[in-house]
């Protein structure tokens, strides 16, 4: 009976395999290959051969027009990469801590648990772009944020706003969007912790804060690790929030794209009538590499602290 199933199973898997081959496996390899091609024309597939120049261009090491040093494009290294790192290293820790606190808080109160969980989950089902536009109005020049705190005149998200102000609002928005998923995961993890451990801790004389720190959180460590890895990746790939809030990637303080993120950079290479596939590809591969490196680091570091 076992071998009979053998070939039929492949029939069942045929659709998935075909689609994955076309839209996942082939693109993976192809993108990798394209990133090393010179003068790639995506319509005809023609190219002028193997080169590291695309990477060089992205990283600002190579001149775009040979012989002219000013043609070095530093947008990626000067703006996209730092912005993305700032976003990631600010929003990920804050959102994890906040969501942990809220999840533990919801778990510790007696009434309205389901109600609270529902409220905090709402941002997840909404359109990031739509709500981004609302945030833009709230923080707009005449928005209620300025009104509430009496700081009329501060520009947060409009074109004439400073880079710092815009980044602050961007980070705040990203945290707002990132909370619901984390709260949900932590909440379900918390519910899976056997109540007996809390009873044992009570008998052992442990005050509530100590129990939370030494018992609840270690028991939640698998979820915390999962959230750390996925939020890092998610924050690094942030794009929709920028579109929603600003619909552009620059402030008016310069001609440069100082609000761009890595992914924004990649997609901007695809716009227009003559998209630069190979540069976008190089950018994508670099993105992939960075994510992999950090994921591996996180998994290494966590080996000792995560308990299953």
């Amino acid at each position: 009976m076992e071998s009979k199933n053998n070939w039929k199973a492949w029939l069942y898997l045929a659709p998935v395999l075909i689609l994955m081959a076309i839209f996942t496996f082939y693109p993976l390899i192809n993108t990798f290959v394209i990133s090393f091609l010179k003068d790639f024309d995506y319509r005809s597939g023609a190219n002028s051969g193997f080169t590291f120049d695309n990477y060089g261009l992205v990283l600002g090491l190579v001149e775009k027009v040979p012989g002219i040093p000013e043609s070095k494009i530093t947008e990626f290294v000067q703006y996209a990469l730092p912005n993305t790192f700032i976003i990631t290293f600010i929003t990920v820790p804050i959102s994890i801590l906040l969501s942990l606190f809220i999840a533990i808080g919801i778990n510790s109160v007696k009434w309205c648990k389901k109600f609270l969980q529902t409220i905090f989950f709402m941002p997840y089902v909404t359109n990031i772009i739509a709500v981004g536009m609302v945030f833009a109005v709230i923080f707009g020049d005449y928005g209620i944020f300025n009104n509430l705190f009496g700081i009329t005149g501060t520009k947060w998200v409009t074109e004439s706003a400073s880079w710092g102000n815009s980044m602050i609002v961007l980070c705040a928005y990203i945290i707002w969007c990132a909370l619901p998923y984390k709260i949900l995961i932590f909440s379900s993890g918390l519910q899976n912790i056997d109540k007996q451990y809390y009873d044992a801790a009570k008998i052992d004389g442990s005050p509530k804060w100590k129990t939370t720190l030494k018992i609840t959180i270690p028991l939640l460590s698998p979820q915390i690790l999962y959230i750390m890895i996925t939020s890092f990746i998610g924050a690094f790939k942030e794009y929709n929030a920028v579109i929603g809030l600003f619909n552009r990637n620059y402030t008016a303080s310069g001609n440069v794209h100082d609000l761009t993120t890595v992914v924004y950079y990649i997609y901007s290479q695809l716009e227009g009538n003559n998209p630069h596939m190979q540069i976008a590809a190089a950018g994508a591969v670099i993105l992939f590499a960075i994510i992999m490196v950090f994921t591996v680091i996180q998994m290494r570091v966590s080996k000792k602290r995560v308990h299953y």
Binding site: D194, Q196, Y197, D199, A200, A201, K202, I203, D204, G205, S206, P207, K210, K214, I215, P218, L219, S221, H307
Partner: protein, 490 residues
């Protein structure tokens, strides 16, 4: 610590919408437990014994009634403030901590209250005292050598174990280099003088601050209003060495010392059990509570572990409450048994008395393997009848009426036996089973309430299938009122 439960009641509210009634889990329980006793709460599932235990622990709030520990009423006191140790049925060991950390966890939440000593003086004095015994010190250090070489941490550990000193003091002694010296005795003498000087300086320092030291180096300070020098009380956390000492002591008692570095999931059920006991005992509680601790163990381990529990309890004299549904367990180790049924106490007595002298039908049926045989009978003119057979005559005056007659399996004798003291009963023997030491006779009788009557007789008895007359041992026959199921004494 004496425990008194007064009219303890726990009602779980029902759900009017779903038509569920209130559940009375514990009903007016009134129990007195003497200090140092090991008492068992015995009963079938759902009789309220675990509920009672959790109320004593403080994890459940009683609906009404009082719980007293000694002369303090602790009914509403938080569990962490009651000074109890609890061993859960599923052990509830923290899975992410090693055994050592599990056991030491309760200690991190306690404080020590003692009179302040000048620790430097204590240290110097101790070193001076130890240096007199140079030979032993050298022997201990050399004995702790690993691969023939002197090893600092093992030497320090060995000195700590031997002299019950803190690791700081051990380290200082180790650093004196007695083991490596050519003439340890000489070196010791020199060091002794050094330390003596240090000691004297320290004492002078204290006196300059206006305080005095007594013989044991307790710091005496003067009260503002009087001229009397008194010791001062201080509270502090336990030091790492002290926690270590407590943990190792508890581990020694339960014999788990070799597993201190393991995590709970690397231990067997029996070992986890012992860790749970150690964790409960390490804080020297006044009361120890065990919730069906043996139900997750296999048969052989169960017997072994219950002996352990008895041994530990005897050694530490902690008042212990032990919840179980296994009557053999309760009978073998408890000083007193409380038999419970649907929240109420059915009888509280020594194990032998609960067996030999049951107060009601439930207790009689619950204890004893194989269970007691219950027949329909009646009292007529001060004699007890089961059907046609006259079982017993009573010395007391009894009211006529229908009763339950319970006869223990070992209460039947084959007729030729001269020891028979009471009446007779005729049973139809269906099977004779050999049990090694005894014979079990499976019989039938039309007045029997239940499937089959089981008797135990000595294996030498000549028993055969068929209608047989049995004589009865009077002390194995019990009569219970048909309506109240209470024991009728005769």
């Amino acid at each position: 610590m004496e425990i008194k439960l007064k009219d303890l009641t726990k009602v779980f509210p029902g759900d009017k919408k779903k038509g569920r009634k209130d559940t009375i889990a514990v009903d007016d329980l009134d129990v007195d437990i003497k200090d140092g006793e090991l008492i068992g709460l015995l009963g079938p599932s759902g009789c309220g014994k675990s509920t009672t235990l959790y109320m004593v622990a403080g994890l459940l709030e009683p609906t009404s009634g009082e719980i007293w520990f000694g002369d303090e009423e602790v009914t509403h006191l938080a569990p962490e403030k009651r000074g109890i140790g609890l061993v859960f049925q599923n052990y509830a060991l923290y899975p992410h901590m090693t055994v050592y950390k599990n056991i030491s966890f309760p200690l991190t939440n306690l404080r020590v209250e003692e009179n302040i000593k000048d620790e430097k003086c204590v240290k110097y004095a101790k070193i001076i005292e130890l240096l007199k015994d140079t030979k032993t010190i050298v022997k201990v250090i050399v004995g702790s050598n690993i691969d023939g070489k002197v090893n600092k941490s093992s030497a320090v550990n060995a000195l700590c174990e031997k002299y019950h000193i803190a690791s700081g003091v051990s380290l200082e002694i180790f650093k004196l280099g007695l083991a490596q010296a050519e003439n340890p005795e000489e070196l010791a003498k020199v060091k002794t003088t050094e330390y003596q000087t240090k000691l004297d300086e320290e004492i002078k320092k204290v006196e300059r601050k206006g305080k005095k030291l007594d013989k044991e180096y307790y710091v005496l300070s003067k009260d503002q209003n009087s001229d009397v020098f008194k010791k001062t009380l201080k509270r502090r956390k336990l030091s790492k060495d002290e926690i270590d000492a407590f943990v190792r002591e508890a581990a020694r008692i339960v014999q788990i010392s070799d597993y201190l570095d393991r995590k709970p999931n690397e231990l067997s059920g029996g070992q986890q059990q012992r860790v749970a006991i150690a964790r409960a005992l390490v804080k020297k509680p006044k009361v120890l509570l065990l919730d069906e601790p043996l139900s997750n163990l296999d048969a052989r381990l169960r017997i072994q572990t219950r002996e352990e529990i008895r041994r530990i309890q005897q050694a530490t004299h902690i008042t212990t409450i032990f919840v179980t549904h296994d009557q053999e367990e309760a009978m073998s180790i408890c000083d007193d048994i409380v038999v419970m049924k649907t929240g109420a106490e059915m009888q509280k007595d020594k194990p032998q008395d609960v067996y030999k002298d049951p107060k009601n039908l439930f207790v009689a049926k619950f204890l004893g393997t194989p269970p007691i045989n219950v027949f329909e009978g009646e009292i007529k003119k001060n004699a007890i009848y089961v059907g046609e057979d006259k079982i017993l005559t009573s010395d007391k005056k009894l009211k006529d009426g229908p009763v339950y007659v319970g006869i223990r399996p070992e209460g039947f004798l084959v007729t030729t036996d001269k020891k028979a003291t009471a009446g007779e009963i005729t049973l139809d023997v269906k099977e004779v089973l050999t049990m090694g030491r005894d014979l079990m006779l499976v019989c039938a009788n039309k007045n029997f309430l239940g499937e089959r009557i089981k008797l135990i007789v000595d294996s030498d008895v000549n028993a055969k299938v068929g209608k047989t007359e049995f004589k009865l041992r009077g002390n194995k026959v019990f009569i219970f009122d048909k309506k109240t199921e209470e024991r009728i004494y005769f």
